[in-house]
Symmetry: C2
DNA sequence: GCTCAAAAATGGTATAGACAACTATATTTT
DNA sequence: AAAATATAGTTGTCTATACCATTTTTGAGC
């Protein structure tokens, strides 16, 4: 199970082993892991090496340590998805609403200046421009324009409207999504937004812009969304880093 | 500098020492730190103890390690502070603006229903209610109402207006701030907000509500802020957790 | 059964040392 | 002068051990 001759560090192998046990459900949330001493005996490694593996997982929130008690599989916090980066689809589901979508525009074009800048490409780069009205329980919730780098994403079928682009790119294209940057801003609905969202011009809208990066740091998509101010609140959990 | 008889762990003392050197500018971004071996000799501690201190700081992004080269003070990524939970004061400084504050109201009162709920206390609980206009380079940026549990925070001097409440509570009260929950919402300025922010009634405002928790999970404060929509964008970096 | 004290088990901190992998510099060889 | 080689310095990984603080379990005595 642990290969001391592997080029991969032992602590890393232990980490992956633990992750797998949790992923496959062999270890359930709340379950106590073998103690560090047991671990080190079973794998014939030093306890400090086990700790190096467990410490990282504890920092990630996968495991919970309690002095004198043991190390446990952490509960998958229900709100955790919103802690990070979510698609509209995932967001609405987490709120108990049925996500939907109406495709307004779907085309390939060269990247506008701001988009090229955000995606760190040239203005000649071909990008998808996808405009959708996003529905929650069949009521307009947001008007969203997505720009995706064609080179990275490959062909995107036009029927994305009813599924999460994220899950499509992850499952069909094997892209690994990493971090994202978002900005939030309050504004008033312009004519187009008011029309698509079925609200009055000048009604409050929450503008969210997001740049999504792959795990290697390459910008994948740039999304501008206008959410109805009267129907949508964005929730996020944040962690304080000591200065 | 390092006290082996202190109740605080040695690695923690080293951590704080490094932080202070960076904060005070004695160590500048890009500077190379003394090597781990030098550190361990100078402080007469084991190298592993030094590593424990440095590892955490590297994880936080304060330091950068490069194998074969050394450990360096990380560039203070402009957006990084906003990755976590920041006070208005810290936020504005990170944007290169001079934070200021005008005290509008400062009193003790029993907690209103929503506040009691957010702070997980009873409505009879005494809380501070502090209303402040927050300035950036002397221009109104946000109108903020803070509720803080008296029992947890103890007496708060009235001159908080010119400092960060966070830093006061951390430094003077020894409270350790943990996570926070925030909601973002677009709205239109009501009469009071318009007056305090020197904008028109009905102008767009970004409403941010935040509950701040201590490390042990106890709610410490509940803050409602109205930011000028024409002057403020909230930036955040988020990380995607695999489902 | 109950209580209290002792023992065992657990994670937290710390040591002293070893070798590996990588980088930069100095030195030698060509 | 250029290239190859050695050398020193750095972080990365790992070992074996020790003691501490907290929690749980055990067991003796009642």
């Amino acid at each position: 199970m642990i290969d001391k001759n592997s080029p991969l560090p032992i602590y890393y192998q232990i980490q992956e082993m633990i992750r797998k046990k949790i992923e496959t459900g062999q270890w359930q949330p709340g379950d106590m892991l073998p103690s560090e001493r047991i671990f080190s005996e079973d794998f014939d490694v030093s306890r400090m090496t086990v700790r190096q593996a467990v410490t990282e997982l504890a920092n990630e929130g996968v495991l919970m340590r309690e002095k004198g008690k043991g190390t446990f599989v952490a509960e998958p916090k229900i709100e955790q998805p919103l802690q990070g980066l979510t698609s509209f689809t995932e967001d609405m589901k987490a709120r108990g609403l049925e996500p939907g979508s109406t495709l307004i525009q779907y085309r390939l074009r060269t990247a506008p200046g701001k988009v090229a800048e955000a995606l760190q490409t040239e203005v000649e780069t071909e990008v998808y421009e996808i405009k959708r009205v996003r529905l929650a329980d069949d009521v307009p919730m947001a008007y969203e324009t997505t720009f995706i780098n064609l080179e990275l994403a490959g062909d995107i079928p036009e029927d994305v409207e009813n599924r999460s682009i994220y899950s499509f790119l992850e499952q069909e294209r094997g892209l690994k999504i990493g971090d994202g940057e978002q900005t939030f801003e309050a504004s008033l609905a312009n004519t187009e937004e008011a029309d698509k969202l079925a609200i009055e011009e000048g009604a409050p809208v929450l503008l969210i812009q997001r740049i999504t990066y792959l795990e290697d740091g390459t910008p994948l998509e740039y999304v501008k969304s206008a959410y109805r101010g009267d129907r949508y609140k964005f929730n996020i959990k944040t962690k304080r880093f000591t200065k």
